[in-house]
């Protein structure tokens, strides 16, 4: 059973489904070309409702990094300690994901994907 089986179709469905297809999707504003972080009903920058989903190149730079020593639940315990990052994609949107241990702020990265139990998650790796 996936975690979404019983949920209503969420605004973020294209992102969540994209992960299972190893695609990193983001919303793009047709009006001001702004790339959106998360999924929105209207553009974060200009307020227009002309948002469409695009697929990112997966390339970006590390904006923030942490190492989680204590997993918040049993589901993630086997992964700990794990590195989490916020990456600014080349297209402009920010996205959270796992990352190679030792990764640094400012480092160029590319998205890869891995399966953890029933979920597909993003792992950013250094990209020269």
């Amino acid at each position: 059973m996936t975690s979404n089986e019983h949920a209503n179709v969420s605004l973020a469905q294209p992102y969540v489904e994209g992960l299972t297809e190893h695609l990193l999707r983001y919303q793009h504003c047709e009006s001001c070309t702004g790339a959106q972080t998360f999924a929105h009903d209207a553009c974060q920058f200009c307020g227009a409702e002309t948002l469409s989903w695009r697929t990112s190149s997966g390339r970006g730079r590390v904006h923030a990094v942490t190492v989680v020593a204590r997993a918040p639940s049993d589901y993630f315990r086997s992964l700990a300690p794990y590195t989490l990052v916020v990456v600014t994609l080349d297209e402009g949107a920010r996205v959270m994901g796992h990352a190679t241990a030792g990764i640094q702020i400012g480092q160029a990265v590319i998205a890869t994907f891995f399966k953890h139990l029933d979920q597909t998650l993003v792992r950013f790796e250094p990209h020269p």
Binding site: S3, S10, A12, Y15, V16, T37, F38, A39, H63, A64, V65, T66, V67, V68, A69, R70, A71, P72, S73, Y75, F76, L79, Y82, L84, V85, V86, R94, V95, M96, G97, H98, I105, G106, Q119, L121, V122
Partner: protein
């Protein structure tokens, strides 16, 4: 427009208070606040209650009023995360200024430490993360703050030693308060050697989870003794989740404070007491620097110089803050204002500072998501 004063305050001890639910704790704090304000139940015509994760009731204010025997003409619960307490005080002020109410009881409390299973606590705290974009990664609340800290430290040239200064200062302060949760002395080395939780944050960079309650009465009359007027307030809400925080140098803290300072006709230079939210050491450092009580990257230097100490130029969280007095949710964020009241009123005992003239209060909820600034002045 009428004036609004903080007329009285009350609290329970913070820590592990077994066998008492949210209402039990709220009632104790409220009773103490009424006594401090010298008002009787019949005079309370407004009640604002902070949410309690251990008692997620549809109408907590009514539940509390029925039990505590209040019949106000205005009452409801509020939720803005850690900023709830300050937001309730801001609204209480508006209710009094408009003439809608004369005496507003602002109260919150919960048994967050002893009254909650690990599962429900995880569920509640998970709401701090985005359900689709963040939580599925196994991010925890400290992880969001760890990520934010990494970026801020990178941009403002802040070190882990700098963060540790605030943990040590808050512990020193808490040791002078009889109701504090954590009182064991700690050093910079202890903070740096404490268990890593979410790099760069160690265990002692994080506040504890406590049981406890706080209450204040906001009134059209100052009561007898000191006249503590609420002279300014402001809010800002730029985002909810960490990933959506666009600029770590502009979280909304400065925006909220600007509104409050403008309304009060004051600047940071006029302030001689600080009550600033400190869920993590990074929270406190960032808020001080963004609002302008220290240049970027230099807040820790002011701690080292003694500026934020009890007898320094700008005493800060003399009760010990969330980091050491303790954190039980909404009430934890109200403790900063309760302590400011006691400093104005000369009731801070061994923690007493030189009587303040103007206090600045700041609270934030989420991950620097909801900001509320308050300015209090001692009148005449």
């Amino acid at each position: 427009m009428k004036k609004a004063f903080i007329r009285g305050v009350g609290n329970t001890r913070f820590g592990r208070l077994e066998g008492q639910n949210a209402l039990d704790l709220m009632a104790q704090a409220a009773k103490a606040a009424l006594a401090s304000a010298n008002v009787v139940r019949a005079e309370i015509d407004g009640v604002l209650c902070g949410y309690a994760t251990t008692m997620p009731h549809l109408m907590l204010a009514n539940l509390f009023c029925e039990r505590f025997s209040l019949r106000p003409s205005y009452a409801h619960g509020m939720a803005a995360g850690g900023a709830t307490g300050a937001a309730m005080l801001m609204l209480a002020r508006e209710l009094v200024q408009s003439g809608r109410c004369r005496n507003v009881l602002v109260v919150a409390g919960e048994n967050r430490l002893s009254g909650q299973t690990r599962d429900s606590s995880i569920q509640t705290l998970a709401q701090v993360g985005h359900a689709d974009f963040e939580v599925p990664n196994g991010a925890s609340v400290p992880a969001y703050y760890g990520l934010m800290a990494s970026r801020y430290m990178h941009e403002a040239n802040v070190t882990s030693e700098d963060l540790a200064e605030f943990a040590v200062l808050m512990r020193q302060n808490a040791r002078r308060h009889p109701d504090s949760h954590l009182t064991q002395e700690i050093s910079i080395a202890d903070v740096l050697a404490s268990k890593p939780i979410a790099e760069p944050l160690h265990l002692l960079d994080c506040c504890p989870i406590s049981d406890g309650a706080m209450a204040l009465v906001v009134s059209a009359e100052p009561g007898s003794g000191v006249r503590i007027k609420m002279v300014g307030a402001g809010q800002a809400h730029f985002h909810q989740h960490l990933t959506a925080l666009r600029d770590v140098m502009d979280t909304g803290a400065a925006a909220a404070s600007k509104i409050a300072f403008k309304e009060a006709g004051l600047t940071t230079k006029d302030i001689d007491y600080l009550g600033v939210y400190d869920s993590f050491t990074i929270t406190l450092l960032m808020l001080l620097e963004e609002v302008g009580f220290a240049p970027r990257g230099h807040a820790a230097e002011r701690v080292r110089q003694g500026d934020f100490s009890q007898h320094g130029a700008l005493p800060l969280n003399t009760h010990g803050g969330l980091l050491s007095f303790g954190h039980c949710g909404v009430a934890g964020g109200m403790a900063h204002t309760v302590e400011a009241y006691r400093q104005f009123a000369g009731q801070a005992g061994p923690r007493q500072v030189k009587t303040p003239t103007h206090a600045y209060i700041h609270a934030d909820g989420g991950v620097m998501s909801s900001h509320v600034s308050l300015l209090l002045s001692c009148e005449g």
